[in-house]
């Protein structure tokens, strides 16, 4: 049994010690950052197939704060810490080249990691808000880390939209507390089962959905994402697009919908429609972009649409597809952002029109970005194909073939925009390509190469996770979510408590 609080305390402690120690010891931030994230990765892999409830300060469930580990939080925990580890590997050389203050970078990075681990583990609504804010504040600062005018502008835009969202979330939590005088998610779910929803609860649900919708960049609330994600340093873009929007947005929405309020056809339709609209608008925005990272950021909106569509269908197959696509998207989108970081590292530009012929000069970057592009466009045998296939089959099975058709069209448009990247940056060249500026380009240094290769290998082989017997990660997710709130309530509050409250009659 792993003690769940280590996922929050270890990065917090490390984030505190990095600025304190590294004034004297120059090598400390890198080593401490990499070791901490590696330790977290090992710990998170250990949690597979475990179900634990940890009461903070030994206060029992509805009164104290609990940390809950179930299948879905385990999946998110692995994704967060895996991408976190690979991003720190990449940062080692990248940050030295472009930015000055390593200790602040690693400190904020670990704070963000602590916040996200807290969000996916906590079983308490207000505690969730606190961890959400820790992760968000760290990410505002990291988006504006370069302190140039564009970065500050993007950071401020992100900050304003996200703070409004946070206020909505806090108001929603306050309304729930006012109705039920409880903050424990399982306890609230139990009380909702007993007393039903009223207008206040519907209002608070809408507030929470809007708030977390902004954090997840689902379509009417996506305006900040194409500015904020490209402005951050490349490893942070990988974290933001690969993990943050999922852990702070999709994870909480799914948790609220399935385990707190309960899935209804209305919510299902809402999620499906917003998913499909995000999918199409994201990919159409991406087609017209000439900035490498901005194009990738627009694709994040589109791929989030697939995930929302999968979870919105509500069938076991749809949930499996959504969870699998969440996992896969975090792998290939982080890989693509790391590729864009490598290209920027060597050429100092992200404009596709000025790039060209990198496939001979940077073979590793080119090959890994080809793998990632094929994965995101859904070409077999890479992982993106399998998850998109499952989502499309699930949509057909659920009697919604129109949405399956839209998903196929979105996938084709994705392929089109990624062939643009491959054509202009790696295999051909853009209009303003200048041979003389590209003379001294060589492959990026070792650790950057290694992190990209690890992700590329993962992209190639994770399609195998679907084979029966190896799907220890995804089948608990499907079980947890399809059974609705009752097993979740029982797991946290204990059978005795739920029985006394009269949920199951006599």
């Amino acid at each position: 049994m792993t003690n769940l609080s280590v996922f929050i305390s270890v990065p917090l402690v490390a984030a505190f010690f990095i600025p304190v120690v590294s004034r004297k010891v120059k090598w400390f931030p890198d080593v401490c950052g990499i070791l901490t994230t590696f330790l977290l990765l090992l710990l998170s892999l250990q949690t597979m197939n475990q179900e634990t409830v940890y009461s903070m300060g030994n206060w029992p469930a509805p009164y104290g704060i609990v940390l809950v580990l179930d299948g879905f939080s385990c999946l998110l925990l692995i994704v967060i810490n895996l991408i976190g580890f690979i991003s720190t590997l990449f940062s080692f050389e990248y940050i030295e080249r472009f930015y000055t203050s390593k200790l602040r970078y690693y400190s904020l990075f670990l704070l963000m990691l602590a916040g996200m681990n807290g969000v996916v583990l906590t079983g308490d609504l207000f505690n969730l808000y606190v961890f959400l804010e820790i992760a968000s504040i760290a990410s505002y600062a990291l988006v504006g880390f370069g302190c140039y005018s564009r970065e500050l502008e993007a950071s401020f835009k992100y900050l304003v939209m996200s703070t409004i969202a946070s206020s909505f979330i806090l108001l929603g939590v306050a309304l729930i507390y006012g109705r039920f005088a409880s903050l424990n998610i399982a306890h609230i779910a139990l009380l909702i089962k007993q007393y039903g929803m009223n207008e206040t609860m519907v209002f608070s649900f809408v507030l929470l959905l809007v708030g977390f919708g902004v954090k997840a960049a689902i379509v009417p609330f996506h305006a900040w994402l194409p500015d904020a994600h490209p402005s951050a340093p490349a490893p942070i873009s990988a974290m933001l697009s690969g993990v943050v929007i999922k852990a702070l947005g999709i994870y909480v929405i799914v948790r609220l919908v399935y385990n707190l309020f309960g899935m209804t056809p209305l919510i299902s339709n809402l999620l499906i429609y917003s998913g499909v609209i995000s999918m199409m608008i994201g990919v159409l925005m991406a087609l017209g972009q000439w900035d490498f990272k901005r194009l990738l950021a627009c694709h994040s909106i589109s791929q989030m649409g697939y995930i929302v569509l999968g979870f919105g269908l509500g069938t076991p197959l749809g949930i499996l597809g959504g969870a699998f696509h969440l996992f896969n998207h975090s792998l290939f989108k982080s890989l693509l952002f790391l590729n864009s970081g490598s290209v920027e590292y060597e050429t100092e530009t992200r404009n596709l029109e000025k790039l060209g012929c990198l496939s001979q000069k940077m073979p590793v970057t080119s090959a890994t970005s080809l793998i990632a592009s094929l994965s995101i466009s859904g070409i077999p045998p890479f992982n993106g194909f399998w998850s998109k296939l499952i989502i499309i089959i699930a949509a057909v099975q659920a009697g919604k073939p129109v949405f399956a058709l839209w998903a196929v069209i979105g996938s084709i448009l994705t392929l089109a925009s990624f062939s643009k990247i491959q054509r202009y940056a790696f295999f051909g060249h853009g209009r303003h390509f200048d041979e003389s500026t590209h003379k001294n380009i060589k492959e990026v240094p070792g650790l950057m190469k290694m992190s990209m290769i690890i992700l590329a290998i993962l992209c190639t082989i994770t399609g195998l996770l679907l084979i029966n017997g190896t799907n220890g990660i995804f089948s608990p997710v499907v079980n947890d979510l399809t059974q609705g709130p009752v097993p979740y309530i029982e797991k946290i509050l204990g059978y005795e408590f739920t029985n006394i409250s009269g949920l199951f009659g006599n």
């Binding site: 207000f126 808000y129 606190v130 804010e133 504040i137 505002y140 600062a141 504006g144 302190c147 140039y148 005018s149 564009r150 500050l152 502008e153 993007a154 950071s155 401020f156 900050l159 304003v160 703070t163 409004i164 946070s166 206020s167 806090l170 108001l171 306050a174 507390y177 006012g178 005088a181 903050l183 500015d227």
Partner: protein
């Protein structure tokens, strides 16, 4: 009556944050929003003629249950004020840097991201 007023304050803050062009006014709008939510939380625990939620020998259990205010929202509001302070200081820091770069507080003139 007091809850709708509280919600009105929230909407005023939302208006300020979304419709104003000046960065300082946007920050003020966000603060008003935050404080209206804090006020709402405090009001949830409020009771007329309430006593402090500390039990000792002189207060009987019945009186305590009937009159003591709910202490939890106060703890929540304390946390939320601290978070608000963190966000505020970051906002002000970013807006000072933005003023150094652009020489203005008007967000319509900060449009380098749109090429």
């Amino acid at each position: 009556m007091i809850y709708p007023l509280c919600f009105l304050l929230f909407l005023i803050g939302l208006y300020g944050a979304t419709c104003k062009k000046n960065i300082v006014k946007i920050i003020l709008g966000l603060l008003i929003m935050e404080y209206s939510v804090n006020l709402f939380l405090i009001l949830l625990g409020w009771k007329k003629n309430g006593i402090a939620p500390i039990i000792d020998q002189s207060t009987s259990h019945e009186v305590f249950i009937a009159q003591s205010v709910d202490p939890l929202p106060q703890a929540l509001v304390l946390t939320s004020i601290v978070i608000g302070l963190g966000v505020l200081s970051l906002m002000v820091a970013i807006s000072i840097r933005l003023y150094q770069r652009y020489g203005t507080f008007d967000i319509t003139e900060m449009n380098k991201l749109k090429h």
